[in-house]
Symmetry: C2
Subunit: 101 residues, 2 copies
């Protein structure tokens, strides 16, 4: 899978919320939660998905804030798989937000 032109990536994430590109190769977003254990619950869901897809984001947990960073190492940049996965991350977060209401 080839890396995408960065202009394509930026066009795509402009229709989404909170995602940024760093160093032209990382898709980055901070997810905020009401409690630490919600952060952990989210991380576990991301972990399960990552194993299924065999594609793993870097995960940073700062109490109630989880930052995900995703890239395709082999492609040396961002691929269509990365763009598919960040939509799934957002969907998992959305589900958690709905169930918390």
């Amino acid at each position: 899978m080839d890396k995408l032109p960065i202009s394509d990536v930026i066009t795509k994430i402009q229709s989404m919320s909170g995602w940024t590109v760093e160093e032209e190769r990382w898709l980055v977003k901070k997810f905020r939660f009401r409690a630490f254990l919600q952060s952990i619950d989210f991380v576990n869901q991301i972990a399960t998905l990552s194993e299924e897809e065999n594609h793993h984001p870097f995960i940073n947990i700062e109490y109630k804030v989880v930052t995900l960073r995703l890239t395709s190492w082999r492609a040396g940049g961002i691929t269509s798989l990365d763009l598919q996965l960040i939509e799934k991350y957002d969907a998992l977060y959305e589900q958690m937000s709905e169930s918390a209401q």
Copy 2:
């Protein structure tokens, strides 16, 4: 709980393995695992302990490497609680390493 003199902290961690001090306020260590899901298992154990103690490290998961960063915000540095907790983190890691053999 007051922050400890940094010399006391350094003396303490010299008897341990892998811990360093950053910016005179963070205790930092990288833990390595054989598989991504072992990283996640460790993070879940750290999370449970953190809730019990109501004291939460920053947690970074880079595939098979988990980095923990601990400080006492109110004290503005490292306290005896932090030093107690890093011993518990090491014990959890040790238990996982033993059970993996």
